[in-house]
Structure formats: structure tokens, C-alpha cells
Symmetry: C2
Subunit: 312 residues, 2 copies
């Protein structure tokens, strides 16, 4: 049996998985992400953990076919990272460095959202499809575009940056990217909370269960919506409208077989996919048959699956 | 020397080109598009013209490597056309039919806008690039997406349908597709004339050279804008804003190396690419290096070049 490792580097922890080359996850574990000193310990920590696992499992060096790695920032097709704010990295090629630390094992690196899309494509909600667009609705909104089985990185590293599709040019609040009205401002966990807050403030006379929850979360907004709370329903409607708008325009560009919705917000389930589907339908009269909307199925493991896929 | 034919079927005429397999256009000509009786004469007319050319040039059957064809409507990856309004066709496979009419010569068919994109990619404004998005601004707005050298047709035939990206959901006038606020409603030749008309009607007190031109054209609007006419400038600004918006969102999805602007409207030149570039810049703060905007260079020949490329 041959093996590979799938590694998903996050700002708090590094998720690691040992796979066989059939794509079966044999074991997974996590190590902390040590970001101090510009994150200089991260790759040595990963190398040590990989070596420990190889020793523990008594795997022969020849049976390791490679290590794939998802990184929370832009990665060029050559694996260069010019800046990765979340890890403190600047101007490095983490794949090459990790390969050296592991005595020459092949290592490939990619953007984490793109790698998660690859995981869902390979083993999750888009399994069996040829083309998929994944939207990860978490703290921010990430994305990945896979067409004819190939990941679309883009000529300037912005392929799949779906969170920064402009959906409301009239927005007055600025997105982190510097733009106004990005999808991320409405469809992320923080976005839906902010939108609900705006509606609550604009309708002080209207009752809402959200008013009694201190620091309500995106989950609270969805739970209130499912229970019929009018203000929460309005916030969810806005989220679905902008996701429907963005995916419709995406369909007029690359027309994937399926859109997969992942990330923490996707736990809301059918209220989300049904809502997005309704607006997608409205915005795509040109399409007689339409893309499906599916929920991600790999959860937090999408990244390690996709990373492993990079080297299989 | 080996040869191939590139054929671009339009609603009025069929453009035909004889190429060598190096991609050199040796000769081009046109025949009328006979649309009567559900366009049943179109393919036999094309076959006859191809055969005439082969006879005239005394080309050996073995030296014909194939015929490529661009069709003004959706074409599936298998070459099926379920409906082509412009030609009167329904439920046919024109590539297979033409191949039979030509005694088995390989024939491949694609959507005309996509095929034109392939032409510009191969021999025109995007030559040397790996990825390009082409926008054809004519009577309507067509598009083509080529990534890593591959044409993106889409899972439901809507890949590159950039004219139907929604850019203004508040629009009250309906697009031909049934949607409201499609790019085509502002950025086509008919669109820019309509937008100028709206502005003229809304500002009856304001002078404009357009008021003295009966049935002014898109070219008239651009000429007036270049001469400083305030109303025409406003119409051109709206067109550039929506093209900047659509291309920016396209960049956040597939991030091509270059956007190529073709079609009759593109003859306006730098006023168009500069104007679009200004809004693209505004809507893409995330991109440190950005896609270029270039004008198509093959003009009306893009279709025959791209069609030939289908079989080379």
C-alpha cells in the first residue's frame, strides 16, 4: 500500500490526515499553529509530525507518494506565497521548504479554499461531477472553481475568490479587501450577523427573539429564521438573494454542474440551498436545465482530503 | 501541405476560410445564409462551396484535415443543437450532417462567440496568453472563456454567456432572455443606443448632437462622446461601468490573463478599454496585478480562425 499526507494549515491549528492512495482517510490529527516569529516554526512542526507518524506506522520511505498542503492565502501555480497574513509568512515557497525538511518527499501546496473544493469534488458533495464551484461560508467567504477536473487558480491568483464578487455596488460599508458590497459582507457568518443587526436597528418597533440574545451568532439568526422570526428571515433572505445573484453570474461565466455550499454557515441546511436556488432560478432564465445546489459533506475534513488529492 | 476550413455561420451570410494547418488564412469568401424552410439548405450550401473550393484548388482528399464550424446558438460538447433561432434549426447535429455531406471529412462545431474567442486566443488579441475572456459587443453581447488553453462550454451550455450576467437587478426593462438588467442591455450596440435615448428623454433641456441625428447608431453615440457631448459621454460611462463590473466579477471567478473586447462596438477603441479598465480597477482592489484589456484584432475573421482551430 502507498500513502500520502493531506495537510490543512489554519490560523489556530494544522489539520493533518494520513491517506492511502485510493483516497481513504486512515487517521487524522491536529497540531497547533505556532505563528510567533513570522510563523517560522510551522513547517518544521509539520515535518516533525509527519516523520513521527511515518515512524509510528513503520511506513517505508518508498511508500510515501507525497504531501499536499492547503494554505490560507494566495498561492501561485509554482507554489510561491508572497504574503500569508494569517500565518505571518512572506516570500516563501512552503512546498519546496517542507520537501527539503522531509528529505525530498514531493510536496504540493495550494490555496485552502481551492483545496477544500478539490476535496468536495473528489470525495464529498460534488463527487462524480466534472465541474463544481464551491462556496465556503465561514468567517469570510472562500471559493474554489474546478472545471473539467482541473482547479482554476487564475492568472493572478484570484481564481475562485468568490467572496469578493461585488453583489451590491451601493453598499456604504467597506469590505476587508477595500471594495464595497462584496458577497462576503452578506454571506459570511459575520456578514449575516451584521445584516441582522442592521435590520434590527432600522426597525426598533419590531419584536425579534434576536433582541434577547447577547452577541447572537449566525446560527442564532438561522435558528430564529427557522422559527419564523421576521427579522431573522429578512437577513437570511438577503444572504440567499446575494448568493443567488453571485452564483447566477458565475453560471453565465463557467456554468458548473453543481454549486457546493460549505463552511460553518452551511450547517443551516436546506433553508440555505432552497433560498439560494430560488434566486438562482430567477436570475438564470436563459438556462433550461440548471446547476444543482448541494451541501458540502466533508465538513472540516474537506481541506485534508483536497490536499491529499494534490499529490495522488 | 495540409488544409482545413473554418466556417462561421451568421444569420445573413456564412463566412468561409481556407487555412493551412499552420493557421495561415489562404483565402476567404462568403455565401448567403438561406434560412427558408427551417434553414434546411444551409449545410448543403456549405458542403457545395467547400467541394467547389477543393476542386478549384485541386486539393487531394487526404490533405483535408477537417472542417470547423461556429454556430449562432448553444452547442453541446457532443455537437448537438437543440434550437438555433437565428437559423431556424431544431434538434440536429450539424457537424455530423456536414461530415456526411462531405463524405466523412471530420467536422467539429461550437458556439460562434466561443469559437471567435478561440480565434482571438489563437491568432488575435490574446495570442500567447494561456487564459482569456472575450466579450463580443455586437447586436447582442456574446462571450467566450478559455482557461489553460481549453474552451469552457459549461455543463448546461451557458459557459461564456457573459451578455446575460446581471449587472443591474433594479432594471425594469426585460432582456430578450427574460431576465432584468443583463449586461447585453447596456453594452451591446442596441443597448448603448437605448441608454443614450433614456438619458436624452430624461434631460429634455440639455443640448446634444444626438438630438439632430435621426436613428443614431452606437457609432454615433461614441463619436459624440469623443467630441465631448455630455449625454453621449454619460451613456458611454454607463456601458463602461457595467462592463467593468461584469469583468471584475469574472476575474474573481476565473481570473483570466486578458480580457479581449471585440464586436462592432469595439471599434470605438481606447475610449472603451480605458473606461472599462477604470471601473475594473475600482472593483478589484484584491488584485495587486490585474488582467489586461485588449481589443480584438481579427475583426470579422475571428470566427473563421477559431472554427479552423477546432480541427487543427
Amino acid at each position: 500500500m502507498k500513502y500520502c499526507f493531506g495537510i490543512d494549515i489554519g490560523g489556530t491549528s494544522v489539520k493533518m490526515g494520513l491517506f492511502d492512495t485510493e483516497g481513504n482517510l486512515l487517521e487524522k490529527w491536529e497540531i497547533p499553529t505556532r505563528k510567533e516569529n513570522d510563523g517560522e516554526a510551522i513547517l518544521p512542526d509539520i515535518a516533525a509530525s509527519v516523520k513521527d507518524k511515518i515512524a509510528e506506522r513503520k511506513i517505508a520511505a518508498d511508500d510515501i507518494c507525497g504531501v499536499g498542503m492547503g494554505i490560507p492565502g494566495p498561492v501561485t501555480p509554482d507554489g510561491d506565497v508572497s504574503i500569508c497574513v494569517n500565518l505571518g509568512w512572506k516570500e516563501r515557497n512552503p512546498g519546496r521548504e517542507l520537501s527539503e525538511l522531509l528529505g525530498g518527499v514531493p510536496v504540493r501546496a495550494g490555496n485552502d479554499a481551492t483545496v477544500a473544493a478539490l476535496g468536495e469534488f473528489w470525495r464529498g458533495g460534488a463527487q462524480g461531477c466534472k465541474s463544481v464551484v464551491l462556496l465556503t461560508l465561514g468567517t469570510g467567504v472562500g471559493g474554489g472553481v474546478i472545471l473539467n477536473g482541473k482547479v482554476i487558480d487564475g492568472a493572478h491568483g484570484a481564481g475562485g475568490e468568490l467572496g469578493h464578487i461585488v453583489v451590491n455596488p451601493d453598499e456604504t460599508l467597506r469590505c476587508n479587501c477595500g471594495n464595497y458590497g462584496c458577497l462576503e459582507q452578506y454571506a459570511s457568518a459575520t456578514g449575516v450577523v451584521r445584516v441582522a443587526g442592521r435590520i434590527l436597528a432600522s426597525k426598533p418597533e419590531q419584536a425579534s427573539t434576536l433582541r434577547s440574545i447577547e452577541n447572537y451568532s449566525a446560527k442564532d439568526v438561522f435558528d430564529a429564521a427557522k422559527a419564523g422570526d421576521a427579522i431573522a428571515l429578512e437577513a437570511v433572505e438577503i444572504l440567499c438573494k446575494y448568493l443567488g445573484f453571485a452564483t447566477a453570474n458565475c453560471a453565465m461565466t463557467v456554468d458548473p454542474e453543481v454549486f457546493v455550499i460549505g463552511g460553518g454557515v452551511s450547517r443551516a441546511g436546506a433553508i440555505l440551498t432552497d433560498g439560494i436556488g430560488k434566486y438562482f432560478e430567477k436570475y438564470t432564465p436563459l438556462l433550461k436545465t440548471k446547476a444543482q445546489f448541494a451541501l458540502a459533506t466533508l465538513g472540516n475534513d474537506a481541506g485534508i482530503y483536497g490536499a491529499a488529492r494534490l499529490v495522488i
